[in-house]
């Protein structure tokens, strides 16, 4: 029981963490992308559709990545090039993606909504490590995407905090005018962050359909994109904090399934609401906003 719960926590945490890491890159560059939910949904749908019709999981993953990038590109044109209000644009992009995936889903898979299944990606047990009691299956018996995501976290931490690229990225999020005056090219850097993040978020969506559910249902992301936003905040814009917050929220989501099955006194909705309520508590109680990059969310235009 405990083992199943812990495994489930990691599995639920993975797409959230992956998307959150992408969003961290974007926010360090000074942009807040509420459209992350839309990118995840688009990635989920594209991955399933392509995998189903082509028979290739790899192509499906590629499709998910491409869809995520495409959605973020729309966002980038408006927010980076035209310096438009980031919040409203992100919301619009999410609505747009919700609509587009819904429309294409019906058209491709018919009105019946019959579950079109693909085989979920196989797990890759890590040899003898996977046989350690309890820790083994929980940490070392997952599919490749899970390993990839959890390795990406420390890698990204290093890049942001200790490399030249990370320094330039943070400069854009701190004071874009100064970064531009130094020739850093804020527009290019923000675009790069959005494209990479789009790939990651699209991949996270692909995880949902190809690794987790094996199928697509309407709005399969169910707010996970927004949870990723919360994770960045609760994790204090720090890769390690993001890992911790993702696992915490993943555990909450795993818990609600168990509770639903058991039908206990505690309503399972509480656990579904937990990530969101916790975000509010962190923001309200711990000066959450102060850890954000200084220029986060402010439109920036050269000249």
């Amino acid at each position: 029981m405990l083992e199943a719960f812990l495994i489930s926590s990691i599995t639920m945490a993975t797409p959230i963490l992956l998307a959150a890491l992408g969003e961290l890159l974007v926010e360090e560059s000074g942009v807040i992308n509420i459209g992350i939910e839309g990118a995840m949904l688009a990635g989920a749908f594209a991955a399933l559709a392509i995998a189903y019709f082509s028979g290739s999981t790899a192509l499906g993953l590629g499709g998910g990545v491409a869809a995520g990038v495409a959605i973020n590109a729309i966002f980038a044109v408006l927010v980076v090039n035209l310096a438009v209000n980031q919040v409203v644009t992100g919301t619009a992009v999410s609505i747009l993606a919700l609509g587009l995936t819904g429309v294409f889903y019906r058209k491709l898979f018919g009105v019946t909504g019959k579950a079109f299944m693909v085989a979920p990606i196989a797990k890759i047990p890590l040899g003898p490590l996977a046989r350690i009691p309890l820790l083994g299956p929980v940490l070392f018996n997952h599919n490749a995407l899970v390993y990839f995501t959890f390795i990406l976290a420390p890698a990204l931490w290093y890049v942001i905090a200790h490399t030249r690229y990370g320094l330039r990225l943070r400069a854009c999020g701190e004071r874009p005018e100064a970064a531009d005056a130094l020739g850093l090219g804020v527009i290019a850097i923000r675009w790069q962050a959005l494209v990479v993040s789009g790939a990651m978020t699209g991949l996270a969506g692909a995880f949902l359909t190809l690794a987790y559910a094996g199928t697509f249902v309407e709005n399969i992301s169910a707010g996970r994109g927004f949870v990723a936003l919360s994770v960045v905040i609760v994790g204090r814009w720090n890769s390690w904090g993001l890992v911790a917050a993702s696992v915490l929220f993943g555990a909450a989501m795993a818990l609600q399934f168990g509770l639903q099955a058991l039908g206990t006194i505690v309503p399972y909705q509480l656990f579904l609401a937990l990530p969101y309520a916790l975000t509010l508590v962190v923001l309200a109680g711990f000066g959450g906003q102060a850890a954000a990059p200084s220029a986060l969310g402010e439109p920036y235009r050269r000249d």
């Binding site: 200790h162 490399t163 030249r164 320094l167 330039r168 943070r170 400069a171 701190e174 004071r175 005018e177 100064a178 970064a179 531009d180 005056a181 130094l182 020739g183 850093l184 090219g185 102060a290 200084s294 000249d303």
Partner: protein
Amino acid sequence: MLRANAITKRFGRTLALDAVDFQALPGEIHALVGENGAGKTTLMNVLAGSLAADHGEAILDGLPLQAGSPRAALAAGIAAVHQSPMLFERMTWEENLALGGFDTGTGALDLDAIAARARSLGAKLGFEMPPDGATVENRSVAERVRLEVLRALSFNPRVLILDEPTSVLAPSQLAPFLDLLRNLRGEGRIVVLITHKLAEAIAVADRITVLRRGRVVARTTPAETSEENLAGLMIGELVAEPAPAATPSHSGAPVLQIEDLTLDDHTGRRILDRLSFRVAAGEIVGIAGVDGNGQTELVELLAGARQPSSGKIKLLDGSPGATMAVIPQNRDLDGLILDMRLWENLILARRLREQVTSHGWLNASHAIDLCRELIDRFRIRAPGPETTAGALSGGNRQRLEVARAIASRPKVIVAHNICRGLDLAATAEVHRTMLDFAFGPGRGAVLLISSDLDELLAICGRLLIISRGKIRETDPGERDPQRLGLLMAGARD
């Protein structure tokens, strides 16, 4: 050689640069002087690549510069130190410098090596460096200027352009800074010094170019000119009448009383330290200080935009509705809402808003009439009350703000750097208005906060000095700019 040919730049309706030709030679300090608004900063931005000119080109050593690209400018060897420091507050100073030229650009990022290089250059220049790993947030203004100069020099530039670098330095720090410029000149670089301080230009420059209203009006050398001459070239006309000398204050009862006013910021750093002073009816009190010693925060407190950590601001006049009108330094960002109409900007002042509101109901036509009346009375050049504030020129926006302040019939007017960006005629006009307000029948009180000692000495009765968040009174007879300058720099008596 650095050449600019026929550079033209327009912002909306404003022609900031009009076919400007400029030339500077290696091994020379070239001063670019002019009033605020003459186009000096715009020209620098074009040369440094942050702005693309509408017409014209810049050429360095025979090679044309790519317009609108700071990267290209830096690569060509042009580095700029801006008027307001372009540092990254929450990063460490080492990281700030790493974004300059101390970083080799290849291999792993090595902050220690970068810091070492910065330290050695700093030592050569006689700069004191901040402690290891310190963030820029808490550094003093002078330290920031030094860091910016270091960062600019780290690019080993052929051309170094400095925009009003001494405006934030205390008088005692000025001489070493000018020596630094001479050293740079000695190394064969081109040093362009943008300043409106004529004494400095004459002291250190080899050649001087004078800009006025976006045009080059004179090219000269210190030997061939004088401060008076330069001033005349800068303003282009004689002042209509000199501002009247301050009359000795036989002032009335105190109207504004500040008691132990203290402000700490969110990190606990003390910005204002137990300020206590008062302003009486019929007097103009000046607070002199180098920018960045707490003046902006004091103005925010007086306007009510911010709450003090402790202490009191009291308006002592017993009559109901005694108010204080505040004219903030940053008129376009803090004093006006540029995309609102003139009459709407007018009723931003609470008193005026109350005048046109009854039971919460806003009477727009009443406000429009009031605006029309003030446009006439204060000779604001505007098509009408329905014009957007953004369409007015800088001088007329200032007239609007002064009009609004006076029209709300306050007991006290607080003005911060009120004449910055205005030419001498407009400045005289503002000063006259303030004098009328204080010494006229209304017997108002004026608190003038400024970094311009000349302005303060001209019209203030009493003078206070603010330095590092502390205030001190000066002796009534103390009028020596040298001595006052030292006090502004924080020297003890």
